[in-house]
Amino acid sequence: MSIAHFVASGMGGIRAAGDLVARMEFDQRMKIDEAKDYVAKKLGVTAFDLSDECKLREVREEQGLGVITGVPGTPRGIAAKMNIEDLLGIKINCCENFRNYAKR
């Protein structure tokens, strides 16, 4: 089921920019076109590019946003999410917890 929906209409998660668009839908209640425009502007790409794996693979690695393949030395998980906070201008709950736990 997950594969069928991704093939038909999905943005691809961290394969492209689906997670970033999802954050703006939930964080700011943006509808899909507004969320895509917002993320595209922040990334310096077009809204059309946001589901393009070739384009976003490089953009994500350059900006430290987490990539779908196992690249040693690149941020993932909580580190990537801290970079996503800065990119999108939002706070992410688990990153706030992490900073509190680390007393930073």
Partner: protein
């Protein structure tokens, strides 16, 4: 193989069906008319009907949206679709919850994901809340995509013989109507209290938010209890991501008179449900249209798209339409066919104008 003038499509139970153009178009017209009549929304117009026919009648096995029109995907049952049994359409793969989440992020291209208890209901989470908080903290350190906690309100678990309150179905059979209503009201209060307990704790453990899945499965009091639970979560965790998805296109009036914010909720359709979801504090709403196994894919999909388009026309919130087995036009089958799923997915994005699935 039938003649070239016929299209290979599906029944609502997933079995193969051959229809000619006239049969398929008639089913689309009947399906949209049925939804419009039930919900009081507009029927699909001629262009939308032609577009839907084009999607359903494609000779291709897989159909997809035009490039650039992709949407966000959210999920129910979390890692249980890997580790669970067939009750959750799970694959029975022995794996940790962390592995389940990582596989969805890095193999299945999920835009969001969620942690789920095996019973996928609010009530049984309470005794194991510390375990759920522990796993949430651990998984959030590793995952990049938004990660929710998900559960069904499932108010049926609060009624006898499973819970402390009288069962309205049994009481109504004995013509104890007022007592049945009172038991449902008490259950709704209890449900809201449990939602507050579970959802605020998993949020404190780092969850991005909460997915209320299959809301109102136990009827109108279940919907009211959930809305009050959403209010409590929103009040205590103002930045939580809240997704509220429904159980059906119509709220069953098992109580019949229970209200939320002065509104009787029994009988509400998606374009009315979403207004209350927004009032309670949800960020994203999940409309549902149930599949009729005795009708064709064309009839079911036209009907589902009409309900959801009617909701999209009025909604201030982004919509993530429910598109699992037996909802959103998808056949009611444990293994829904790829051709049917991709057609339904495409139609919901391109015609119903949803923001996610």
């Amino acid at each position: 193989m039938k003649s070239m003038s016929e299209y290979c499509t599906r029944n609502g139970d997933g079995s193969t069906l051959y229809q000619n153009k006239e049969q398929m178009m008639q089913d689309i017209r009947d399906g949209t008319a049925d939804a419009a009549d039930m919900a009081g929304v507009r029927e699909l117009n001629a262009n939308e009907i032609d577009h839907l026919f084009e999607i359903i009648s494609s000779k291709r096995r897989v159909v997809g949206v035009e490039r650039g029109r992709e949407v966000v995907l959210s999920y129910d049952v979390g890692q249980l679709d890997m580790a669970g049994d067939n009750g959750n359409s799970g694959g029975g793969i022995a794996s940790s919850r962390l592995n389940g989440a990582l596989v969805h992020e890095r193999t299945l291209c999920a835009d969001t994901f969620e942690l789920a208890h095996t019973d996928y209901s609010i009530k049984p989470v309470k005794p194991v809340i510390a375990n759920e908080m522990n796993d949430m903290e651990n998984i959030q350190n590793n995952l990049t995509i938004p990660y929710f906690y998900g559960a069904m309100p499932n108010m049926g678990l609060y009624y006898a013989p499973d819970g402390p309150y009288g069962n309205p179905a049994d009481l109504m059979r004995e013509f104890k109507i007022e007592e049945a209503q009172q038991e449902a009201e008490k259950s709704a209060v209890h449900l809201a209290r449990d939602i507050e307990y579970v959802s605020t704790r998993v949020y404190k453990a780092g969850a991005d938010g909460f997915n209320f899945d299959t809301t109102a499965s136990a009827g109108d009091a279940d919907f009211v209890g959930t809305l009050h639970g959403v209010e409590k979560l929103r009040a205590q965790c103002p930045n939580a991501y809240i997704l509220l998805g429904m159980a059906g296109e119509n709220v069953m009036g098992i109580h019949g008179e229970i209200e939320y914010d002065g509104q009787v909720v029994a009988g509400l359709f998606p374009q009315e449900q979403v207004v209350l979801a927004e009032k309670a504090g949800a960020d994203v709403f999940g409309p549902v249209a149930n599949t009729n196994t005795g009708k064709s894919l064309a009839w079911n999909l036209a009907r589902a798209v009409t309900f959801v388009r009617g909701c999209a026309d009025v909604s201030n919130l982004p919509l993530h339409v429910n598109m699992g087995m037996g909802v959103g036009g998808i056949p009611m089958a444990e293994t829904p066919p790829l051709d049917a799923v991709t057609r339904c997915s495409t139609a919901m994005v391109e015609i119903a104008k949803v923001d996610g699935i």
